[in-house]
């Protein structure tokens, strides 16, 4: 269970998160929607522990553990996964090598043994097939020369391999055509279950047709201003954020 209470944070001395209260029980998928500049990406970076995103108050725990006190890699080992809005390129670093290094780092953090190259390849091929990813993507440099859709699928592949307890999907739908969107959504839905929870950050209702959330929260001005069931997303799509802002 992710528990956030009174979370405030600033970037370059500018307050962005103004007191977030949010709970995502284990087994649930919640969506966060909101206009540009409302603090959605800041929230995801704060939870993942990026430098420069300064927490000024409040708490965030995952299954009772204070994640804000941890280094980014410790959070990863504790089960926090961030699917990046803009996945980063690592020239010369083979995708297979990167995925295996990451998987083994997280496994070690969980007290599990390393997978050798053969065990890893078997697992990776299996997961890639499910995501309709061509196998040569293992041989290429991490995200180097990948199309937008390939980059996002590569993020979902990493999630499927690392099996996090809690995933944040930061605008994973942006730049995806409808086929890729379905593949990505299938990948997320396949993860759903009693040991997994997720925060899906998106601008649009479209993704939520495929990943149906248990709850929807509206983030505006660094605060959650409204929460509701999946129907809230449709409401927002129809009426825009202005209506929520007026009501809030």
């Amino acid at each position: 269970m992710l528990h956030i209470e009174g979370l405030t944070a600033e970037v370059d001395g500018k307050p962005i998160l103004q007191g977030i209260d949010l709970q995502v029980p284990t087994g649930e998928v919640h969506a966060i929607m909101g206009p540009n500049g409302s603090g959605k990406s800041t929230l995801s970076y704060v939870l993942a522990g990026r430098d420069g995103y300064e927490v000024t108050g409040g708490i965030a725990t995952l299954d009772g553990r204070d994640i804000l006190a941890m280094e980014p890699e410790e959070r990863a080992a504790a089960g926090v996964f961030l699917a990046f809005q803009y996945p980063v390129e690592l020239p010369g670093v083979g995708n297979a090598m990167f995925l295996r290094t990451a998987l083994n780092a997280v496994r070690r953090g969980r007290g599990e043994s390393d997978l050798d190259a053969m065990q890893f390849l078997k697992l990776a091929r299996e997961r890639m097939k499910a995501l309709s990813m061509p196998e040569d993507m293992l041989k290429r440099g991490v995200n180097v020369g990948f199309s937008g859709g390939e980059k996002k699928r590569n993020e979902i592949l990493q999630m499927a391999l690392l099996q996090p307890a809690f995933a944040i999907l930061d605008e994973t739908d942006s730049g995806l055509d409808i086929d890729a969107l379905k593949i990505v959504a299938d990948g997320v839905n396949a993860m759903r279950g009693p040991g997994f929870s997720a925060l899906v950050i998106t601008h649009y209702q479209r993704l939520l047709d495929y990943i149906v959330p248990d709850r929807v929260h509206v983030l505006m001005g660094g605060r959650i201003v409204k929460s509701g069931g999946p129907e809230l997303a449709q409401e927002l799509e129809a009426q825009g954020y202005g209506a929520v802002q007026a009501a809030a």
Partner: protein, 498 residues
Amino acid sequence: MPAVTETIETVQAVAESGYKWGFETDIEMEFAPKGLNEDIVRFISAKKNEPEWLLEWRLRAFAAWKTMEEPRWAAVKYPPIDYQDSYYYAAPVKKPGPRSLDEVDPELLRTYEKLGIPIREQAILAGVEGAGETPAEGRLPVAVDAVFDSVSVATTFKARLEKDGVIFCSISEAVQNHPELVRKYLGTVVPQGDNFFAALNSAVFTDGSFVYIPKGVRCPMELSTYFRINAKSTGQFERTLIIADAGSHVSYLEGCTAPMRDENQLHAAVVELVAMDDATIKYSTVQNWYPGDAEGKGGIYNFVTKRGACRGARSKISWTQVETGSAITWKYPSCILQGEDSVGEFYSVAITNNYQQADTGTKMFHIGPRTKSTIVSKGISAGHGQNTYRGLVRIGAKAAGARNFTQCDSLLIGDLCGAHTVPYIENRCATAKVEHEATTSRIAEDQLFYCRQRGLTQEEAVGLIVNGFCREVLKELPMEFAVEAQKLLQISLEGSVG
């Protein structure tokens, strides 16, 4: 002040864990008197029971050296070296040939164990006779010549190599057993008076490796030399000579380590390669001399002259170097491309962390027609490190259709280090093509964060990114050493971020 204490401890931990090869072996040694003069040159020559012509050769080199000045054009800074305050000969006292592991000086044995040389190879390195035969199954192992301070203590697999006519031994042994080959080639690629450090080496060189591959022979295993500086206040001056006769092929690798000391020690080697018609020499270096501590104290001065001559048509010389150690590296492995259609290659990774300085690169002399050269240099600077690529591509008037491609990439970690690129191109031939590309980049914060979000520590992330940056060079290394080199890159950069 716990924060300060913690910082100091961290720095110490890095300095200690960072260089695992920094121990000293306590072993009975024999030294020449300190200092450098004609008597020392004669002492070394006599110690090695050298023929008269070689003593004269050395003395000519010494006479030349005395008239020369230390080069100061490289972008490196260091206090004046007192050449009289060093030992020029230091060798373990040799006991008559041990027959079994139990009889070998246990200190020497432990040294190889600590250096991580595999147990079987270790048995061989320690000079146990009979252990040097080819194992019954599997691929052939690597043959090793082990140079400990001034002398070669053992060369393995000599008998196996002799079956193919390959000569692999210490140069001292070659002087005794193959004087005609040594005399024919020694100093023909790097003449005695070539430069200050080459002249010094020519006067006082003590050991090194000698390789001769006969016509049409593909050397059946990798050859390697492991250089170890152990004794205090001692310079190491090794000389390596590799001759690949027509149509032959050899892959050779050198590695090196030294104890951690506050003093600077001089290592001035000369390597000469000769490739005849259709011959290929692949020469790889993993240079891991003690780099000095985090404050820049101590470390090896690595002033090395390496040059290969592609004398024959379609011959090829390929240099690959991974330079992670040394306080100062001054080194320009070069190719003289005389034979028509001959090929020269230079692949380099040079890392400078803390206060290390590297001024390294290559020279490609295109003399014959249609000669080709490729230069790929990757410089990585961290801490206060200074890293300079210095290269020369010279294309002569008769090198019709010659081609060169040069790529120099620099990676900066932190904002106190420096990267410099000094490429010279001299082209006297209208039909030649010369290309040069250069980039400088930093490890981006978003790359580090991306890796850490996936569970890698900051240092693992840097190692991964740096290895990616160096991939084009690392893939040129023989398989056995590529993995080792990757680990070394990571260790060299420990403590460089965060």
